[in-house]
C-alpha cells in the first residue's frame, strides 16, 4: 500500500472519529487506533525507503493548493505522534472514562481527535498558510484538553496561561510565515537555501516554536499545563506536543539559511535549559510537576544536539554534526516514549490515590506492582542510564560532542562546557528519579490514601506496557534504527545523506543485551541464594530506632535539600514554618513551595509594572473637554518647540 | 620564557584558588606567604646571570612578602583574639568557581592583548591578571579585615607580576615602588584593623555599616 493511500485512509478514520467521538467511545477508539496504525505504516515506509512522499492538490483550499510532504524529518515526528496518540487514547478510555467523568469525557475524545489530526496535518503541510491553520487548531484543541478537568481552578488557569503563551508564539509564527511568503512570493514551503537574506527569520522561528517546545526561559506555561491536565493528555503534551516545537526548529533550520551565531545560541539555550530544568524538577514536590520540569530538561538535551548540528554545518564538520543530530532525533523518540510512560504511571497513581503530592504517598508498590515496576524502568530510561533507551540517544549526543572536542576546532570551544553541563544534568536527573520513584512507590505509606491504593486496570496497563516495550526495543537494537535516523539526517541536510552508522552503535546494542542478560542472571542467582540461606522479616532496622512512624521517612523536600541549598538563588523556594512551641506543642508545620521562577519573578513583576503604567496613563483620559483642549495646546507647543530648536543651526 | 618560571606562576595561580577556597585564616595567610616566596624567587629565574641588585630585590621580597608580613598578620590575629573561621559574603564554592573562571578569562585575555613577542608565550600576564582578580574577589567577598588584607596582598602580588615585565628596563625602581606601596597598604590596614578592633571589639567589617549616619 502506498503512503498516499495509507494517509488518506488515516485522515478519513481520524475525521470520522471526530464525528462519532462524542457518542460512541468504542468506535472512536477503534478509529483512532486504525488511523494511528495506518499513519505509522506510511511513516515507516518513507523512513525505511528511499523516496519522500509528496502530494499537491489540483484544487485550492483557502486560495492555496494543498501541498503535503512526508520526508525523513516529518516521518520521525509522525512515528512518535502515532504511537503516543494511540497509546494515550486507549489509556484515556479507562483513565478518563464516561463512567467516571460523564461531563467531560465526550468532549475530551473530540479534542483528542482534533489535536492528533491537526498535529499530523501540521507535520505534513508544506504550505505556510495551511501549516498555520493546522498549528492554530492543534493549539486550540490542546487548550480544551488541558482544561478538561475545568471544575478545578488550577486547571482553568493553567489552560489560560497556555493559551496566552501559545498566542505570543503564534504571533511570531504569523510574522515568520508572512515575511517568508512576502519575500519568496509564495506560501509554498521547502528548501530555500538560496535566499541568504532570510537568515534573520531564524530568530522568529526559535521564539515562535521555542514557546511550544518549552525550553528555558520560554517554558513558563509548561509546568502548570502539563501537571494540571489529565494524565493521558500530559503524556501526549510532554511526549509529542512539545516535540512539535522541536520539529519546527529542526524543519526550518534545515530549510532556511541560519544566521552565523545560531548554533552557539541554540547550544547555549539547550545547555541552560537542561541544567535549569532538571534543577527545578529535582526541587518539586508534585509528581507531575516534577515530570513537567524534566521535560524542560529533555528539550534542552534535544536542543544541544540541534545546536551541535548547526555548529557543525557552520564549520563544515559533517562527522560529528550527523551524530549530534541523530542523537537529538533519537532523543525525540526516546523522550516521547519514556515521558509518556512516566505520565501514564503518574496518572495511574492519581487514579488510585487522588493526589499528586509526593509527601502524601509512599509504599504504593504493594498495591500497584505493575505501575511501580514500569515507573522504575522508565526512571532508568529517563535518567539516561544503560541499558535503556535514554542512554543510547545521550550516547550519540555525547559522541558528537566528544568528537568535536577531539578535533580541537574553534567551534568546539562551546562543546566542552556543554558536555560538562550535560553530565551534571544527567547526575541531577538520576537524583530526581531516585527521589520520585522511591518516595512515591516505596517505604511506608505516608497517608491513608496511599494505604488504600489499587492497581490500574488492563486498558491503562496495556499502553504502559507497549511504551515500556518501545523503551526496551529502542535500547537493545539501536543499530536497526540507524537507517531511519540517517534518512532523517539526510532530509535535514542533503549534504549529509548516506551517513554511515557509527561502528560502535552495533557494539553498544550488543553490550546492552549482554549487560541486561548478565544483570538478570546475577539477580536470579542472588535471589536464589537469599532464599536458600533463609530470610527473616522485621521492621526496618534504621540503627535500632525503636518506634519509627511513616511520617519520619525522608520526604521529597528533604531529599532535594542539598541541591536546593546550592541553587537557592535560582529556585527561590518559599517556605512557611510554624515551630512547635511550649511544653505541649500544638500542631506545627513546614510548607515549602517552589515558585515558577521566570513566571513569578520576571514576567509577573514586568506585567504588573506595565499595567501600572497603563493605569496611570488612563487617568489622562477622563472625558473633560477642557482638558483635551489643553492637551492639544500642549502638544502643539511641544511640536513648535521641537521645530524651533531642531531647526536652529 | 623558561619553564621553571611558568611552573612558579602556575603555582601562584594555584595558590590564588587555594586562598579563595580556604575557610580559615591561618591557611589563607599561609597561601599568601607561599605566594610571596614564589614571587620573590622569580626575578632570579628571569635573568641569565644573577646581578647583585636583583638578588637583593629577591631577598627583600622573600623576607617581606613571605616572612615579615605574614608574621605580622599572624601576630595581629593572635593578639586581637580573632576567630579563625572566615565568614564569607560570597560562599567558598562560588568564589572558587569565580576565581577559576577569572583565571581562564585571564588566559584568554592575555592571548588577545598586544604583548611583546617575547612575552606572548609566558604566563606572567595571565598570572598577574588572575592574581589581581583574586585579590578583588577576596576584598569583595570576605568580611574579616585580615582576610581583606590578604586579598589586598594578593592584588599587590598581581601588580608585582606585571612589574616583572619591566625588570629589564628599570629593575630597582619597580621593586622599590611596589614594596613601598605594599608597606603603606599594610600600615593603613593595620591602623584600620586596630581602630575597628578598639571601637567594636571585633574586626568584622560588616559592623562598619553602623557608622553610616
Amino acid at each position: 500500500m502506498s503512503p498516499g493511500f495509507l494517509l488518506t485512509s488515516a485522515f478519513a478514520a481520524a475525521s470520522a472519529s471526530l464525528v462519532v467521538g462524542a457518542r460512541y467511545s468504542r468506535t472512536w477508539l477503534a478509529l483512532v487506533v486504525c488511523a494511528a496504525a495506518a499513519t505509522l505504516a506510511a511513516a515507516f515506509r518513507v523512513l525505511l525507503g528511499t523516496t519522500d512522499w509528496e502530494w499537491r492538490s489540483n484544487f485550492a483550499i483557502g486560495g492555496e493548493a494543498a501541498h503535503l510532504r512526508l520526508d525523513g524529518v516529518s516521518a520521525v515526528f509522525l512515528v512518535l505522534l502515532c504511537v503516543v496518540a494511540a497509546a494515550g487514547a486507549v489509556y484515556g478510555r479507562e483513565y478518563w472514562s464516561d463512567a467516571r467523568e460523564p461531563g467531560s469525557a465526550p468532549r475530551g475524545r473530540i479534542a483528542w481527535s482534533a489535536m492528533v489530526l491537526n498535529m499530523g496535518l501540521a507535520l505534513l503541510c508544506s504550505n505556510g498558510l495551511h501549516f498555520l491553520v493546522a498549528w492554530e487548531l492543534f493549539t486550540l484543541s490542546a487548550y480544551f484538553l488541558i482544561r478538561l478537568d475545568d471544575r478545578r481552578r488550577p486547571a482553568r488557569s493553567a489552560a489560560w496561561l497556555y493559551l496566552a503563551a501559545s498566542h505570543v508564539a503564534s504571533l511570531c509564527l504569523f510574522a515568520f510565515f508572512g515575511v517568508l511568503a512576502a519575500r519568496t512570493g509564495s506560501w509554498d514551503l521547502g528548501p530555500m537555501l538560496e535566499h541568504a537574506e532570510l537568515a534573520p527569520l531564524f530568530w522568529l522561528v526559535l521564539l515562535g516554536f521555542g514557546v511550544k517546545a518549552g525550553f528555558f526561559p520560554l517554558h513558563v506555561w509548561l509546568p502548570s499545563a502539563h501537571s494540571n491536565a489529565p494524565s493521558h493528555v500530559s503524556g501526549i503534551l510532554s511526549g509529542v506536543a512539545i516535540k512539535m516545537g522541536i520539529y519546527g526548529i529542526v524543519r526550518f533550520s534545515g530549510w532556511l539559511v541560519v544566521p552565523p551565531g545560531a548554533g552557539w545560541v541554540v547550544l547555549g539555550l539547550g545547555a541552560g535549559s537542561a541544567l535549569v530544568g532538571i534543577t527545578f524538577a529535582f526541587a518539586q514536590n508534585d509528581l507531575k510537576r516534577l515530570l513537567a520540569y524534566c521535560s524542560v530538561e529533555h528539550v534542552g538535551v534535544i536542543l544541544i544536539g540541534v545546536g551541535g548540528a548547526l555548529l557543525a554545518v557552520a564549520h563544515d564538520n559533517a562527522a560529528w554534526g550527523r551524530l549530534a543530530l541523530a542523537g537529538a532525533l533519537l532523543h525525540v523518540w526516546n523522550h516521547g516514549a519514556f515521558k509518556a510512560l512516566l505520565f501514564f504511571c503518574s496518572g495511574s497513581v492519581v487514579h488510585a490515590t487522588g493526589t499528586r503530592e509526593m509527601s502524601r504517598l509512599g509504599g504504593l508498590w504493594r498495591a500497584m506492582p505493575w505501575t511501580a515496576t514500569l515507573f522504575a524502568l522508565a526512571a532508568i530510561a529517563v535518567a539516561g542510564l544503560p541499558p535503556l533507551n535514554g542512554f543510547v540517544s545521550e550516547w550519540l549526543l555525547y559522541l558528537g560532542l566528544f568528537d568535536a572536542a577531539a578535533l580541537r576546532s574553534a567551534a568546539a570551544w562551546a562543546v566542552l562546557p556543554v558536555a560538562i553541563v550535560l553530565a551534571m544534568a544527567g547526575a541531577l536527573a538520576l537524583a530526581t528519579f531516585v527521589k520520585a520513584g522511591t518516595i512515591v512507590f516505596f517505604g511506608a505509606p505516608r497517608t491513608q490514601v496511599a494505604r488504600h491504593a489499587h492497581e490500574c486496570g488492563p486498558l491503562m496497563r496495556g499502553p504502559m506496557l507497549v511504551l515500556a516495550g518501545a523503551c526496551i526495543a529502542l535500547a537493545l537494537a539501536p543499530a536497526v534504527l540507524w537507517p531511519a535516523l540517517a534518512r532523517a539526517v539526510g532530509a535535514w541536510n542533503p549534504a549529509w545523506i548516506g551517513a554511515e552508522p557509527p561502528a560502535a552503535l552495533d557494539r553498544l546494542g550488543w553490550t546492552h543485551v549482554v549487560l541486561a542478560g548478565v544483570a538478570v542472571l546475577v539477580a536470579l542467582v542472588l535471589v536464589r541464594r537469599v532464599r536458600a540461606n533463609g530470610t527473616r522479616r522485621g521492621p526496618t532496622w534504621d540503627c535500632g530506632f525503636a518506634e519509627p512512624t511513616p511520617r519520619m521517612q525522608y520526604t521529597s523536600g528533604a531529599f532535594a535539600g542539598i541541591v536546593g541549598g546550592w541553587s537557592a538563588w535560582l529556585l527561590r523556594t518559599e517556605s512557611r514554618y510554624r515551630r512547635p512551641r511550649g511544653a505541649f506543642p500544638a500542631r506545627s508545620e513546614r510548607v515549602e513551595r517552589v515558585p515558577e521562577m521566570v513566571l513569578e519573578h520576571v514576567l509577573a513583576p514586568t506585567g504588573g509594572a506595565l499595567v501600572r503604567v497603563a493605569l496611570a496613563a488612563r487617568k489622562l483620559q477622563h472625558g473633560r473637554l477642557q482638558a483635551y483642549i489643553l492637551y492639544l495646546v500642549l502638544g502643539l507647543a511641544g511640536v513648535a518647540l521641537i521645530v524651533y530648536f531642531g531647526g536652529a543651526p | 620564557m623558561n619553564h621553571a618560571l611558568d611552573l612558579l606562576i602556575g603555582l601562584v595561580m594555584g595558590l590564588n584558588l587555594l586562598a579563595l577556597g580556604s575557610g580559615r585564616l591561618p591557611s589563607l595567610i599561609r597561601a599568601v606567604s607561599l605566594q610571596g616566596v614564589a614571587l620573590g624567587v622569580m626575578p632570579l629565574l628571569m635573568e641569565p646571570e644573577v646581578r647583585w641588585h636583583v638578588a637583593l630585590v629577591a631577598l627583600a621580597t622573600v623576607t617581606g612578602k613571605g616572612l615579615v608580613i605574614p608574621a605580622l598578620l599572624r601576630r595581629a590575629m593572635r593578639t586581637a583574639n580573632i576567630d579563625r573561621e572566615i565568614l564569607p559574603f560570597v560562599g567558598f564554592v562560588p568564589s572558587l568557581l569565580l576565581g577559576a573562571g577569572g583565571t581562564i578569562a585571564a588566559m584568554v585575555l592575555a592571548h588577545e592583548l598586544p604583548l611583546l613577542p617575547e612575552q606572548t608565550g609566558s604566563l606572567i600576564v595571565p598570572g598577574a591578571l588572575a592574581s589581581i582578580f583574586t585579590g578583588f574577589l577576596l576584598l569583595i567577598g570576605r568580611s574579616k579585615a585580615i582576610a581583606q588584607v590578604s586579598g589586598y596582598l594578593i592584588l599587590e602580588n598581581g601588580i608585582y607580576l606585571f612589574g616583572l615585565l619591566l625588570i629589564h628596563a628599570m629593575p630597582l625602581m619597580v621593586e622599590a615602588g611596589i614594596l613601598l606601596d605594599l608597606t603603606v597598604g599594610v600600615f593603613i590596614f593595620g591602623i584600620i584593623v586596630d581602630r575597628i578592633q578598639r571601637e567594636f571589639d571585633s574586626i568584622d567589617t560588616r559592623k562598619l555599616t553602623t557608622l553610616r549616619e
Binding site: V434, V530 | P126
Partner: protein, 302 residues
Amino acid sequence: MNVLLDVLLRAVVWLALAPLLPGIITKTKAWVAGRRGPPVLQLSYDLARLWRKGVVLSTLVSPGFVIGPAVAWVAVFGAALLLPLGALGTGLGFEGDVLLFVYLLALARFCTAWAAMETGSAFEGMGAAREVSYAVLSEAAIIAAVLALCVQSGSTSLVAMLTPAAGAGAVLLAAGLFVVLLAENCRVPFDDPNTHLELTMIHEVMVLDHSGPPLAVILHGASVKLLLFAVFLTEAVLPMGSLTPLAATGALAASVLVVTLATGMTESLLARFAFRRVPLLLTVGFLLCLFALLFAWRGGPA
C-alpha cells in the same frame, strides 16, 4: 576464542584482586597507627562468611531491595571490564565506550540509592540524598577528566585514550582523579568507612539494612569500584602504550599499589572534613580536572 579468554582472564583478575585493596588500606592505616591490623584478606573472609549467612529483610522492602545490589554489582563489574589492564583487554572496546563506563557507574549509584530508599528509613534516605547530590559534582569532574583524555588522544575509546601519557596536565589530572577516587569510594576526608553510626556518612549509611549475600555483593562491588578508580587513575597518567606488555602490567600493578597506599596514608593523616566542606573539596577536584582539560587543549604548558 582469544577475546573470550581475555575477558575471562580479566574477570578473574578483577574478582580476585579487588577485595585486596581495602585490606591493604586498612593495613596501611594500622601500620601508621602502630598496630598490627587485620589481615589483608580480611574482606575476602568477610565476603565468604556473609555469602553463607541468612538475610534479615525489612517488611517494607520489595524484591528490588535484593535485585538492586545485584544490578549495581553487574554495572560496576561491566565498567571494570571496559578498562584495559596493561597488555590485557586492548582488543575489545569501541568508540564511545568511555561514556558507557561513566554511565555504568551512574547506574550502580542509581541502584544503590534506590535500594536504600526502599527501606523507608530516614537515615538511609539521608545517605541516598547525599550520595546522589554530591555525585553531581564528581560526575562533572569525571567528565572533565575524560574530556581531557579525549582531547589529548583524539579518541573516544577507552583503550586508545588510556595508552598515551597524560602530557602536561598529568599532575593536575592525577590530583583531580584522586579526589574523585576518595569521594566516590567513601574514603576519608569525605566519609569514614569505619564508622557506621555517624550522622555524617554518605555511602555507608545506605547499606545499613542490607545483610547476608546482598551485603556481600555490595561490599565486593565497592572494592571493585575502588580498584577500578585506581586503575583508571594510573592508566590515565602513565604512558601505557610506550611500554612492553610485561612492563606495562608491572607498572600498572605497582602504581595501583602506590595509589592504594596513598589512600591509606591520606586516611591516616587527614581527619574527615566537616560536612559543609565536602562540596568545596569536590569543586577543587573538578577544577583540577578542568585545568587538566585546558592544558590538554592547549597541547602543553601555555
